[in-house]
Symmetry: C2
Subunit: 251 residues, 2 copies
DNA sequence: CGACTTTTTGAGTCTAGTCAAAACATGTGG
DNA sequence: CCACATGTTTTGACTAGACTCAAAAAGTCG
């Protein structure tokens, strides 16, 4: 049976994207800022710089001095931690108007993870100092930021729980559902995860190995839960995947 | 060879402890509030209520409506998540002037973990509404809270990394070091972890089982890295434990 | 069409989990 | 103060899920 070719359709990152006008829209749409008056947003906008990065480029490294806060204007960015033994751990995948960078390190002075472009990206950056000034000037923004960080903490704790208590199969199912929720797009009767990501990435997300992920994905495909190929996955049966996460076996 | 009996000396929780005067001291010492003028602190203090809880009592449950923020005035509290399969996951152990409760759920409406008294405790509680008012009234406090939550996020991500990439042995070593850093007290040439915690708890912290933890601890004891007994642990060789975490084997 | 990367498959091994039972602490009441 | 009841820890034997190493198959891109 011939497998479908890659159905991914990634947004083209063109230079226009980071135009002043577009940036205003992005920044004005962020949960952090969207309640502010246009005037304030335009003042804040002036503090941001844009930057294009291409796939696999590192935006910053774990251990670097935490000098900037970033926003994803276009494309996807992954956050990873490196281990002595060599295999990386994938903490999160960001897109849309997600933030990353010095925010997660308040109180610390260095980045605690490495940021890698998963696709060609356009990102906006602001210096930590400028961002802290914004926080001082607009208390509401601090409040929104707090909510965003709290949410990430809760998510991280959920991952801790899963790594502690779930089998690899359950963790993979759960990771797929999480990605689908974030990046999924309807495709026929399935949900395509709009992100080029390899077995390697999925292994790094679930604390496993490429070989094991491959075996589990094959099993899922046999059971009609997913379709997948080189760097893409479509979820065909969300409900049964959810049951699998809860109950721990394919029924 | 006779093992040493429990060397734990826990603070006695007497009713006096939550006296108004003592509460003022606790609240005034919190990173969140300590920069505020005495007057503001006394106003904030009036919004807190104290509560005694005894060992193993639940302070709130995962899924309950998140109505309060808590401070640990005396004693230790653990935060756990329950899993369908029954074994709990221990997310954090709190003491001193740590906060817990509705803080980690900003934006959410329910507690995402269960809080259990690890010892007899005295805790202070404030309603979420009152706390939000404080945040509105004192922007600096919001800022401090943001830093605290960020720190916990970073810690949680470290745990994710360890669960993903470390062996059980490394995770246990790392958990012991973390606890020692937080709750350790010098005892002869070792560091006693001032917390009554069982193999069960250590298993729940490291995503393992009591039996495996027991075996690993026996190995550690043989190698002179720790001494331990029923519900207590003393670390005898911090340095070699640290090397073990990094390199992954007892040298 | 090749060269390269990613994915799959296979065989063997080992870490850590499970189940069961014994040994050991701790606290209680006689 | 000792003996017993209870909960915790240790030990043993067995099993299995997941890792490692190695090589073949399948996509992808110039």
């Amino acid at each position: 049976m011939p497998r479908p070719k890659s159905p991914l359709r990634l947004d083209w990152v063109d230079p226009e994207v980071c135009s002043l006008e577009y940036r205003l829209k992005i920044i004005g749409r962020l949960p952090f800022f969207k309640h502010l008056p246009a005037e304030a947003i335009s003042k804040i906008n002036a503090l941001f710089h844009d930057r294009d990065v291409s796939t696999d480029e590192r935006i910053y490294f774990e251990g670097d001095e935490a000098g900037h806060l970033y926003l994803v204007a276009m494309g996807k960015v992954k956050l990873v931690r490196n281990t002595a033994s060599g295999h990386d751990v994938l903490l999160d995948i960001l897109h849309g108007e997600d933030y990353f960078g010095s925010l997660s390190t308040f109180g610390g002075r260095v980045y605690t993870e490495t940021a890698v472009a998963q696709t060609d990206c356009c990102i906006l950056q602001i210096s930590s100092a400028d961002f802290e000034n914004i926080l001082s000037d607009y208390p509401d923004v601090t409040r929104k930021v707090l909510e965003a960080v709290s949410k990430r903490l809760t998510e991280s704790q959920e991952v801790v729980k899963q790594l502690s208590a779930y089998t690899v199969e359950q963790r993979i199912a759960s990771a797929l559902l999480r990605l689908a929720g974030k990046l999924g797009e309807a495709r026929g009767r399935g949900v395509l995860i709009q992100l080029p990501f390899s077995r390697q990435d999925l292994a790094a997300m679930t604390g496993s190995t490429t070989e094991t992920v491959s075996r589990v994905m094959s099993r899922f495909a046999e059971d009609g839960l997913v379709k997948s190929g080189r760097k893409w996955v479509t979820i065909m049966d969300t409900q049964r995947l959810e049951e699998l996460v809860k109950k721990g076996a394919v029924n």
